[in-house]
Subunit: 148 residues, 2 copies
């Protein structure tokens, strides 16, 4: 399992804080940018991250100012369930109920310590695998595959 | 412009509170369910709401326990930019920057008064129309239309 990281300029500094936490915990990750606070377009970063992922095993954490732009872009991809999390409770819930495989962090709305606490809960919480949740995830998959 | 509403069982009561607010403000809406707190699958409610929308003019507010399930499902549709909002600041930002056309509310994480305050800001904030934001939205559209 690989953990991919991606952020736009607004999320760059918080991504660096996350990397320090992951390194301390010996959690392997791959950072796909950005590498400064010079403006970049979040959909291009998200595209790099999602295309790198093996959906059977990998996870990703993506960051932008409000978390919304990166999450919207990521959810356009088949097999991606990206959740915008602002506290630990919602992070736990979206792993348990939605089996979210991408965590989107709203960097301008939460402190780095809060982002790390959210990531820690999200990375260590398992999907419940309950039938009602699996059924709803399968219904999302049907929405992805419908005719356009 | 029509405002569509949809919620699963976890968002049902908060949707009713929103309807009372909208009625007081004489804001027209169409409620596409659910109509009780009996369990329903959020992707089916979201599908009804999004398929009812005229993307050139309409907006929607969708509710579930964490806001994540309805937002993930909605963002699978072309032309939809659904934002999960937990406070007024992020609601304003996602209208201004992402031109979000669907508001997803985390009903089990916010009080009804907070949901109403978020909806009020979201409904009255305009997209900035700045070139950098428009460019990023167009990049999301490209992600939606890529080969699968």
């Amino acid at each position: 399992m690989m953990l991919y990281l991606g952020a736009d300029h607004a999320g760059f500094h918080q991504k660096e804080a996350l990397k320090r936490f992951l390194t301390t915990r010996k959690i392997e990750f791959a950072d796909l940018g950005t590498d400064s606070d010079a403006p970049v377009d979040y959909p291009l970063i998200v595209e790099k991250v999602i295309e790198a992922m093996d959906l059977k095993a990998d996870q990703a954490i993506i960051l932008c100012g409000s978390g919304q732009g990166v999450a919207i872009a990521a959810n356009k991809f088949e097999g991606i369930r990206a959740a915008v999390c602002w506290d630990e409770k919602v992070a736990k819930e979206t792993r348990e109920d939605n089996d979210s495989n991408v965590l989107a962090l709203p960097s301008r709305h939460i402190q780095d310590e809060q982002a790390i606490a959210i990531a820690q809960i999200w990375l260590t919480t398992e999907f419940t695998n309950e039938e009602r949740h699996t059924r709803r995830i399968n219904e999302i998959t049907k929405l992805e595959r419908r005719e356009r």
